[in-house]
Structure formats: C-alpha cells, structure tokens
C-alpha cells in the first residue's frame, strides 16, 4: 500500500473560517486538474466535474470530450459566442477550440465505451471500497429515474475519477464498504478526489494518495476498516 502523506497544494489551506460549498468544490477540482496527464482526452461529467476545466493549467493540452458529439470543446460561450447548436452535455452553450471534431451520438458513445478516453471525472453519491459507483439515483421511491450517460461514462474511460465531498451534510461517509444507493457501475472507479484526501481504488483495496488538512489515521477512523484497513 503506497500512502503519500503530502497534502495537496490547493486543499491544504483549510485554516480559519469554514469554506463554502463552492470553495470546497473548486479546491477538489483544482486537485483533479493538477493530476491530469498532459494531453489527456477527458470527459468531465455534468455538475461539479465541469469545474475542472477552469483549473487546467495553460498548455495542459487536455482535450475535452462531450458526449453529445464533440471533441476539443472550449470554455462556456458568452455574449455573441452563444450558439444554440453548440452545447455541452449539460446543455450549456460552449465554444469550440481549433482541432475540434463533431460526430453523432452513436459514434460519440462508441468513442467513450470503447475505452478511448483517458480520464472521465464524475460526481457521486457513494463509492464503494471495490470501486462501485452510485451517482444516478437516490433510490427514493418517488424519484423519477433518469440516467443520461452516467452508466456509459462509468464503464467507458481508461480511468474513472470521482470528485465529491467525503462526507454528506450530516457527516456520513460517501466512501463506503458497499453502496446502498442503486449502482451506476460495478468496480469502475479508479480514484476518488475529496475535500479531505484522495484515494486510489486498486485490486488490493483502497489506499490514500494524499490527505488534506487531516491525517490518514483520522480518515481510517472516519471510514472504518472495511474501507481503509490499517
């Protein structure tokens, strides 16, 4: 088990006043962005993962895929750039970068499901110690199920990274021995970026990649031995 005790650049400054939800998400997004391989082809899921794009260093060469049919998507469109025919998967107007390509939905998901994307970053309700992902459905009996591309993304990329707060609002861990929410994908998550640390999910179990403002021991106490054995 390789455990790096270095705290990450951006999440280590948790000193005085509690951070806002947005600040926490931005810090996690910065951690994810810093870890991106140069020139990676990546899909950033709807919601918080889209923040990662704002933190990519200039010249990162990262090429963004959007599952509604485009490679090399640019930043959100503003003003005159807005074109109703050019949106991301969240239906937000975006721009195109030089070297972009358009393709239809079957080709787009073939690209994703064929394992050609280097990284996919997703939000999650829960991740299990064996990499199961739950992010599409709370399981509430009155909820209308809606999956979108979540299950395709979960199994499609070479690496699936989750970004989430480690705990729910009421303090319950979201990295769990076994998911209680309906699954999105089985054993598909490779890494989990959280506000309290980053975890790798390997065949041998969960390891701590780095911690943020806490210790590995404290994380063990939080998550329990079924998730983080000593």
């Amino acid at each position: 088990m390789t455990t790096s005790q270095t705290t990450s650049q951006t999440t280590s400054q948790t000193t005085s006043s509690p951070r806002t939800k947005h600040e926490i998400a931005a810090a996690i997004a910065a951690d994810v962005a810093a870890a991106f391989p140069r020139g990676a082809y990546a899909n950033l899921g709807i919601g918080q993962p889209t923040l990662v794009a704002d933190h990519l260093p200039p010249g990162s060469g990262v090429v963004l895929h959007t599952e509604n049919g485009m490679l090399n998507m640019g930043p959100a469109a503003t003003g005159d750039e807005v074109d109703p025919d050019l949106t991301n998967a969240g239906k937000i107007p975006v721009t195109e970068l030089p070297g972009a390509a358009y393709f239809h939905h079957a080709d787009s998901f073939a690209m994703m499901r064929g394992g050609h994307l280097d990284v996919c970053v997703l939000g999650a309700f829960q991740v299990s110690a064996t990499g199961d992902l739950a992010n599409w459905h709370t399981g509430a009996p009155d909820a209308i199920p809606a999956v979108g591309g979540a299950m395709d993304l979960a199994i499609g990329a070479k690496e699936v990274w989750v970004m989430m707060t480690l705990l729910t609002k009421d303090g319950t861990p979201k990295l769990v021995p076994e998911c209680t929410y309906p699954l999105t994908g089985l054993g598909c998550v490779d890494r989990v970026y959280t506000d309290l640390g980053t975890f790798e999910i390997t065949r041998d179990g969960v390891t701590v990649r780095d911690v943020a403002g806490t210790t590995v021991e404290a994380l063990r106490d939080l998550l329990g031995p079924a998730v983080l054995p000593g």
């Binding site: 049919g69 393709f103 239809h104 939905h105 209308i144 809606a146 299950m151 089985l186």
Partner: protein
C-alpha cells in the same frame, strides 16, 4: 432519387399512424425538430411510443405532445429535468409508461436497428437496476448485457442543409441523434434550415446519405392550422 421536399410541416407528418414508434432527434434544443412535433400535435396521431433523449421541457414541443395525451410510452435516457413538469405529472399519475435507457444504449440500439444487427453485448449497466432481468454473458473476462435494437416507424429529426436528393449535413452538436435515428426508422422526415441544389454539398461532407431520408421540410414551410 429525389427526396420529397414538403411545403408544409403538416404534409410531412400526415401519414403517422396511431400506435407508431416515433424517434425524435435533438439534445436539448439542439437538433430538436420543433416544427415537426408541432405538426404531429395538429395531426392528432395517438397511442405513440416516443424515443428521444429527454421527455420534454417546458410546455412546448415534446412536452406539448405529452400534455395532449398522445404518448403511451417514452423511451429515453433522461426524463427528469428542472422543467419536465409535464412528463413528471403524467408519470406520477400513472398516465405514461417510461423505459429509461442509458444514453449510449439508446444510440447504439438505434444504430443496431439501422445496421441489421439482431442484438449486441454491451458493457453498460452491468450490475445496475437498468440491467435487471436482462441476459448477461461473460466474454474475455468482462460481463456484458444483451441489448436489442430500437426501431422506429417514423423519425423526426432536425438538420442544417439538405440537397434535393436528401443528403443531409448538420451544425455542430445539433448533429447528435439525427444521423443514428435516420438509419433506424422506416420513414425519415427532417426539418432543415435550407434545401440546396444537388451537387452543392461536397460528397466528402455528407453526414446522412440520401438513402436514409424520405422527406425534408425547409424553414419557413407552412404550418397548417386545422379547420
């Protein structure tokens, strides 16, 4: 063969029968064939199965078709949205059936229909509620779910240009489901921004070849208000 260029949206959907499966293109508003949907509402076909990525937004388009009680079943990947109140109400009242399909399966199952594939083993949704009751198989150490084609009686899609043969090109991410749906339905109707002369679209740039397209309706076509 020349494509049928319709002078009204209503003419283009006049023969949609009750009970049809209608593939409706678009992702959000991009590529959404709004004028054809409006014409379908005026036309009155009912008991429809609609296959589309979403289940309608706001009170227009697909949502209006649903509100008019013309749709028995929706097959889509993402019905629940901030402004999907029409669908939500019908669903909660038990007045509409829903099949939720992962977006990639939705596309690939229509592609299979268009390509003559009888069924395919797919890695999506293994071990999730959406594969419950479906056949699975382990191939080369990975588990797959068996998925079947989705065929349409009619596809209503939006495209950018058509030539007089029916070759289509799209604009940016408005391409989305259009080219796939065009292969998967018996009758394919496209609303387009413009119909150009045959030869004006470079054969290297055609996205949907003419063989797939039955009717096109250029922007500005008539909307016939029923008497």
């Amino acid at each position: 063969m020349s494509v049928e260029v319709c002078t009204s949206y209503d003419e283009a959907v006049a023969d949609v029968a009750d009970g049809s499966t209608v593939l409706v293109g678009g992702f959000g508003m991009a590529g959404m064939p709004v004028h054809l949907i409006d014409a379908l509402i005026r036309q009155g076909a009912t008991d429809l199965t609609v296959v589309s990525n979403n289940a309608g937004n706001g009170d227009t388009g697909l949502a209006a078709l649903l509100a008019a009680k013309r749709v028995r079943t929706v097959i889509c990947s993402f019905p629940r949205q901030a402004d999907s109140w029409v669908f939500d109400g019908l669903y909660r009242a038990g007045d509409i059936e829903l099949e939720v399909v992962p977006q990639g399966n939705l596309a690939e199952r229509m592609r299979a229909a268009g390509a003559g594939i009888g069924a395919f083993y797919c890695p999506t949704a293994v071990g999730t509620p959406l594969s419950e009751g479906k056949e699975t198989r382990e191939i080369d150490g990975r588990t797959y779910v068996l998925e079947y084609p989705i065929r349409g009686d009619v596809a209503l899609i939006g495209a950018h240009l058509s030539d007089r043969m029916g070759n289509l090109v799209y604009r940016k991410t408005a391409r989305n489901f259009g080219p796939v749906m065009a292969t998967a339905a018996r009758t394919v109707v496209a609303q387009v921004d413009c119909v150009v002369e045959t030869g004006e679209i470079d054969p290297e740039h055609v996205v949907t070849p003419s063989i797939y397209v039955d009717r096109v309706v250029p922007a500005g076509a008539r909307e016939e208000v029923p008497a």
